[in-house]
């Protein structure tokens, strides 16, 4: 049986994913420092409303409120014993909303990073990471998620652990990393490196790509980096709506719906097949993006110059691919 995401991917040229979860929940009264996932049990109506937003704005895929739903993250709130429950509830509410949409909408079970550093640099072993992701995956599966949606990952080891967990849960999956440090992930992975890594996975994702990071310009440069490698797996672009600003006790992102509409079209022209937003992307942004994607004919791949002209400058001169990559210090002598 084919999963819902594969079906949609096979029938459409592009799909629109959703926008921000955290930003929306703050606007509903989530307090800074509280665990959003607890609302799956405590405020199901607000979570339904969270999911309904992108569905009404035209998203084909939305992510569940389970980003921090692994044992390592929930431990902060002394809820490490509720991983299965909170993920199941998050997916169930999603299933409910998606099934009433009147068109195919994919419930993507969000899986965020553990927040720990993987061995050998840090304490988290591959086995432990797989176990944590697997526990979360089973909850999402039980609640009826169509796919697992791994996001905001920095370490290749963690991405691989999530892939392994998806295999163990028997779930199709998609996975994006966050390229927020000089065009690479925090751990130094380039866009080209990610394509190489994804190609080597035993349990390959249905789609891979980038989310969050710095701004929409950087994100598109990353997408161009992916597509330059000619990947066979569809590419996901989920960029932030600009840069966060602090106003009246709230985080506000400065990217307008018009800007995100341009970003969406450029993302598609850059070769992304699944296009959405991340932090700061509201339903207003999504509506503008949907309209732009429907009403703008496909164009040629944008150049880096066109991206900066339209969306603003990059956060770094190089993203670690192609020409002009800064070289490490020349050691006097190398040791073995």
């Amino acid at each position: 049986m084919t999963d819902a995401l594969s079906k949609l991917l096979s029938t459409r040229d592009w799909l629109m994913a959703d926008g921000a979860t955290g930003t929306t929940l703050f606007n509903m009264g989530l307090q800074s420092g509280d665990a959003p996932e607890l609302w799956n049990a405590d405020h199901p109506d607000r979570i339904r409303a969270l999911y309904q937003g992108p569905v009404d704005a035209g998203s084909d895929i939305f992510l569940t409120n389970t980003f921090g739903g692994n044992a390592s993250r929930l431990k902060l709130h002394d809820a490490q014993g509720r991983v299965r429950e909170l993920n199941r509830l998050g997916a169930e509410l999603g299933r409910e909303v998606a099934d009433k949409a009147g068109r195919p909408v994919v419930v993507a079970g969000s899986v965020g990073p553990t927040g720990e550093i993987m061995a050998p640099m840090g304490p988290l072993t591959h086995e432990l990471a797989v176990e944590m992701f697997h526990e979360q995956a089973e909850g999402l599966k039980e609640g009826g998620a169509d796919v697992l949606w791994v996001e905001t990952i920095s370490a290749p080891e963690e991405y691989k652990a999530a892939a392994e967990a998806a295999r163990l849960a028997g779930m199709p999956w998609a996975g994006t990393m966050s390229f927020d440090t000089a065009g690479r992930t925090m751990m130094g992975l380039t866009s080209a490196d990610m394509v190489t890594m994804v190609n080597k996975l035993a349990h390959k994702p249905l789609a891979f790509g980038a989310n969050c990071g710095v701004g929409s310009s950087d994100l598109l440069r990353t997408v161009l980096g992916f597509t330059a490698q000619g990947p066979e797996i569809p590419v996901i672009a989920k960029g932030n709506a600009g840069i966060p600003k602090y106003e009246d006790g709230h985080i506000h992102y400065d990217g307008t719906p018009e800007l995100m509409a341009k970003y969406a079209v450029m993302a598609r022209d850059s070769g992304a097949k699944i296009i959405g937003g991340c932090c700061g992307t509201t339903t207003e942004h999504l509506k503008a993006m949907r309209a732009a994607l429907e009403n703008t004919p496909a164009g040629p791949r944008p150049t880096l110059e066109q991206i900066t002209e339209t969306l603003g400058g990059f956060s770094s001169a190089s993203d670690g691919t192609g020409e002009g990559v800064p070289e490490p210090r020349t050691r006097r002598r190398r040791r073995g």
């Binding site: 420092g33 665990a35 550093i117 065009g183 600003k245 602090y246 002598r333 040791r335």
Partner: protein, 234 residues
């Protein structure tokens, strides 16, 4: 690997070469070699403070600059910091004994709700690498935890870190509380984390936003120098 260049005998290098080699070894994150180098310099009669500044701090400055410039990334910096730590463990008791100059004391931790401590750990290590005393409160800190530690430790600097847009507003809660208690001006408040920027730092009333660990060290030095100047003038 076994070519001729593997056979570097640290004790056979003269002081200048040894310090250069230690900079390389820090860059490559070789902890045992750094420990050995520190011991050799001490045996040769170097003051602990000189070993700290010329061999370790200068070496970590190179690491910090390349991190800032997007040449090194977190894994390499973690390794370098680990090597630095090995050297520091030897020097720390000796520095206290010899009454070496003190740079200042920082209380640091990630804010309530945030367990992402990679950036915080880097800042912590680089600050120690630059000679600061660091009291690391770990993750998930409430206002009370920060305030108690600042007082108990008689700190000069408060460092707060957040990686999530859902947790970064908590920094303002901490700063507002310091203001309410009339203690804001007692401390230099530095903030950092991936989703933050300079404007955010200003908006919540921090003294500075620090883009990365290398910038945090420079900023801290700068503010401490200004504080000393003020005290001298006042």
């Amino acid at each position: 690997m076994s070519d001729e260049e593997d056979d570097i005998i640290l004790s056979e290098l003269d002081n200048e070469e040894l310090v250069q080699q230690m900079h390389d070894d820090l860059y490559d994150g070789l902890r045992e070699e750094i420990e050995e180098g520190v011991n050799i310099l001490l045996e040769r009669g170097w003051q602990p403070y000189q070993v700290l500044t010329e061999a370790l701090v200068s070496g970590m400055t190179i690491v910090g600059n390349d991190f800032r410039d997007g040449i090194l990334f977190v894994p390499e910096v973690l390794l370098a910091a680990n090597a630095m730590k090995g050297g520091m463990a030897i020097l720390k008791p000796l520095l206290a004994e010899t009454g070496a100059p003190r740079m200042g004391k920082m209380v640091i931790g990630t804010v309530k709700g945030d367990i992402h401590d990679i950036g915080k750990n880097l800042v912590s290590m680089m600050m120690e690498g630059a000679g600061f005393e660091v009291v690391d409160l770990g993750i998930n800190n409430s206002v009370d935890a920060y305030l108690e530690a600042l007082e108990a430790e008689d700190a000069d600097i408060l460092g707060m870190s957040a990686l999530l847009t859902t947790t970064m507003p908590y920094m303002k809660v901490v700063i507002d509380t310091l203001n309410e208690k009339g203690k804001r001006d007692d401390y230099i408040v530095l903030v950092g984390g991936a989703p933050l920027n300079e404007e955010f730092g200003r908006a919540i009333g921090a003294d500075a936003y620090c883009r990365d660990a290398a910038v945090a060290v420079e900023t801290a030095k700068d503010f401490i120098a200004r504080k000393h100047n003020q005290m001298a003038a006042g």
